[in-house]
């Protein structure tokens, strides 16, 4: 029996549409992925706890070399845990099930806290980091604190990843008429022109990103966009390849409509 292979020309746009259709229609598959990801978390916690006990020499003394390898394993496991978090967040965004729990929040204070968490990565690369407040008083924003922390973490961590050693990152928070505008600017590798349309797509990674970070998931910006839009806000960017990228988002004033 002969097999006939049929070909059809598929444009990038078709592929993107097919991918969107898959994620919006296949709730059974999504449930399966969600359950599988959820099930991964117990063994991941087990690995984390075991490695932590070994590293703390609770089971017996370890050599310098063993410590180095155990730390690598711990670090890899942390990445897996982070990946499961991202997959679950992305599935919630796709399914429209991301709940937002808004409360009045001091955005500047929130950014300072995020910066403290990731300061070691900033210092490791010798990056000059600035946090600036725009003109006027910043009013408390009614936001889901944890979700907006995720957005700032994603954007600033990306900026660090894709900015060469000794570069510059600046975060600006400005009170505007209709909301708070936040900007994360870096002097990094920038986004190639051909990739700009796809940068917020799930699992998408710009072509020049792999040289700087092989292990990124391509979910961070997709999740960030989902979170900002769930707040009724807007996220966008401008970028010149080789010179840097500026991400902006607006968190609108007023109450967020709950699902």
């Amino acid at each position: 029996m002969s097999r006939r292979l049929s070909f059809r020309l598929i444009s990038k746009k078709d592929l993107a549409q097919e991918e969107d259709d898959f994620w919006s229609e296949n709730s059974e598959q999504k449930n399966f992925i969600s359950m599988a990801t959820h099930q991964l978390r117990t063994p991941l916690a087990g690995i984390k706890w075991t490695l932590s006990m070994l590293l703390n020499e609770e089971v017996g003394p370890i050599t310098k070399d063993q410590k180095k390898w155990l730390e690598q394993a711990f670090h890899s496991n942390e990445k897996l845990i982070h990946l499961t978090n991202e997959i679950l967040s992305a599935l919630k965004i796709d399914g429209g099930g991301m709940q937002i729990y808004p409360a009045p929040t001091d955005i500047l204070m929130l950014v300072r806290e995020v910066v403290e968490i990731i300061r070691p990565s900033i210092e490791k690369k010798g990056i000059r980091f600035k946090l600036e407040k725009g003109k006027g008083e910043i009013r408390p924003a009614t936001i889901d604190r944890d979700r907006i922390v995720t957005v700032f973490q994603n954007l600033i961590e990306n900026a660090i990843k894709y900015t060469p050693d000794g570069g510059e990152i600046k975060v600006t928070v400005t009170q505007e008429k209709d909301g708070i505008k936040c900007a994360v600017k870096d002097s990094g590798i920038g986004i190639p022109q051909a990739d700009k349309l796809n940068i917020f797509r799930r699992f998408f990674r710009a072509h020049n990103a792999f040289n700087y970070d092989q292990q990124g998931t391509g979910l961070g910006l997709f999740i960030s966009k989902g979170i900002i839009e769930r707040h009724g806000g807007k996220i966008w960017f401008d970028s010149v390849e080789g010179r840097g990228t500026n991400f902006y988002f607006i968190l609108p004033s007023g109450d967020i409509i709950q699902n």
């Binding site: 978390r41 117990t42 063994p43 916690a45 087990g46 984390k48």
Partner: protein, 127 residues
């Protein structure tokens, strides 16, 4: 105050996780009661009164972590004892439900290491 007399109940269906923390708690001189499901936990509670409870939310069988928490809060002997709820996810719905039922604290397993769990137990017990 030392931890020697303190009784900890750890209800967790994953035997590996349960074993890890039990071993760590034994080193800290706690007395430990472990159960792999809610029904076994209820049987233990008929004879013993732990000073603190560590409950996994998702348990096999009819009695999950929430139901256990309700039972603990409804019992005169245990109603004021600290209860730490453990979950795999920081679902706000679960957190709200847990705190609504009287949980002392809600903890995410994969966000913590054993030292931090021990510190939480000691802090909740005030030891």
């Amino acid at each position: 105050m030392n931890t020697e007399q303190k009784k900890v109940m750890w209800v967790e269906d994953d035997e590996f996780l349960s074993g890890l923390i039990s071993q760590r708690l034994t080193k800290e001189q706690f007395e430990i009661f472990t159960a792999n499901n809610g029904e076994d936990a209820l049987t233990i509670l008929k004879e013993h009164t732990p000073d603190i409870f560590l409950l996994d939310l998702m348990l096999p069988g009819e009695v999950d972590g929430f139901k256990l928490l309700e039972t603990i809060r409804a019992n005169e002997k245990t109603k004021d004892k600290p209860v730490l709820l453990f979950s795999n996810l920081a679902s706000k719905e679960d957190m709200d439900k847990g705190y609504g039922l009287g949980a002392t604290k809600f903890l995410i397993k994969s966000s913590m290491v054993p030292d931090e769990i021990i510190a939480e137990i000691k802090s909740a017990l005030g030891v």
